[in-house]
Amino acid sequence: MPDPSLIMYEEEFRQIDAELQKLHQQANAKATLLVDKNGQLITCVGESQNLDTTSLASLTAGNIAAAGGMAQLIGEKEFSILFHEGERENIHITLIGRVILVVIFDQRSSLGLVRLRVKKSAESFSQIFNRILQKVEKPKVSGESAEAPKLAPASPFSEITEEDIEKLFG
C-alpha cells in the first residue's frame, strides 16, 4: 500500500528542527535539509537564503528514487547514501525511512565528518518519524486511551467547501 499522508504537528516539528540544527553545527555544514521521499521540503537550516530549496528537495527525491531503481536492478534493496562531489560544494544525501537528509558542505568540512555525524543523527530522526507515524495511525485504531498520544488538532480539511477551492483560482 502507498504511504499514508505525512502529517506533522508542532511538537515533532520542533524536535526535528532541533536535531537538524545540531547535525548542521556538528557537521560544519553549509546547509542541511530534511525532505520527504516524495520531494516535499520538510525543513532546512543554514545558508538557505540563496538556495532554491523547493527545487532542491524535488531533485533530491528524484535522485534517491532513481538510485533506488538502479539498486533493485542489481538485486539491492536500496542505496541509502548518495554523495555528489563538486569543485567547491558537495552534497551528501541519506535515505532514512520515508525522509531524506541532505547535507551541503564545502571545504570547511569533510566527507568523513559529515558521514559520521549523519550516522549519529539518523537514529534520532528515525525515532521522531516513528512517533509521527504512530500519531497519525493510532487514533484511528484505538481511539483515545491512557497511552494514546495527544489527540491531533482538528483537520484543516473538515470544513473546506467547494467554494473555498473556487476562490483559490480567483
Binding site: S5, F13, N38, L59, I165
Partner: protein, 195 residues
C-alpha cells in the same frame, strides 16, 4: 501522499501529468508557469534531452493560496511519455495525490493513448494505487488539429468511467487551467474525505 505541516500551516500535494510522448504534458506546465504570478510559483525544472524531450520529469511548484489558514501548495510533475522511460515513470508516480491524463486527440495517436493508459493503470497498481480511487481527470489535447478523433470516441476508448474531461489546445492555453482547477478540487476534496 500529501504532506500536511501544522507547524508551518502548509499542505503540499503532488499532481502527476501522464500521457503518451509529445502529447502536451510539458506544454501544460509551461503554460501554467507563464500565466502564474511570480510570487505564486517556484522555478520550473525540466530534466530534458537536448531535443527537449522529457528525460526524467518536469517539476513546477505552485502556491495556490490559503484555505482555513493553511497555505495550499501543489507540486506538478510530468512523466517522460516515451515508452522506454517506463522505470522513470514508475518512480514519479510514487506518493501521487492526483493524476491528469493528457491524451493526444489525433487519429494516429490513439494507439499511443491506449498504450499509455494501460501503462498508467499497471504502474499505479504496482505502487498499490487504483486509478478509480484517485483524484483523476483527462485532457483531450490538440483539439485545433484537423485530424482529431471525436470526443465521443475518445471517451469511449479512454474514459469508460466517465471522469471529468476537458478539451485542450495546450500551446494556446486552452483547457489548461480548467484541467488544473478540476484536479486541485478533486485532490482537496479527497484529502477532506480521508481525514
Amino acid at each position: 501522499m500529501a504532506f500536511i505541516n501544522y507547524s508551518a500551516r502548509e499542505i503540499n500535494c503532488k499532481i502527476v501529468y501522464y500521457g503518451p510522448g509529445l502529447g502536451g504534458k510539458t506544454t501544460n506546465l509551461l503554460h501554467i508557469y507563464k500565466k502564474t504570478n511570480p510570487e505564486a510559483k517556484g522555478k520550473m525544472i525540466s530534466l530534458a534531452t537536448e531535443s527537449e524531450r522529457t528525460l526524467f520529469f518536469d517539476f513546477l511548484p505552485l502556491a495556490l493560496g490559503v484555505i482555513k489558514g493553511f497555505k495550499i501548495r501543489f507540486h506538478l510533475y510530468t512523466v517522460p511519455g516515451q515508452i522506454f522511460y517506463d522505470a522513470s515513470r514508475k518512480l514519479i508516480l510514487r506518493g501521487v495525490d492526483g493524476v491528469v491524463f493528457v491524451a493526444d486527440s489525433q487519429v494516429e495517436r490513439m494507439e499511443a493513448n491506449l498504450e499509455s493508459m494501460d501503462n498508467l493503470n499497471k504502474n499505479l497498481k504496482e505502487q498499490g494505487y487504483q486509478l478509480d480511487n484517485l483524484p483523476y481527470t483527462i485532457q483531450y489535447n490538440k483539439r485545433d488539429l484537423p485530424n482529431v478523433v471525436s470526443l465521443e470516441e475518445l471517451n469511449r476508448a479512454l474514459n469508460p468511467k466517465g471522469v471529468p474531461f476537458f478539451e485542450g489546445v495546450a500551446y494556446q492555453g486552452k483547457g489548461v487551467f480548467e484541467t488544473l482547477k478540476e484536479i486541485a478540487k478533486q485532490v482537496i476534496m479527497h484529502l477532506k474525505k480521508g481525514t
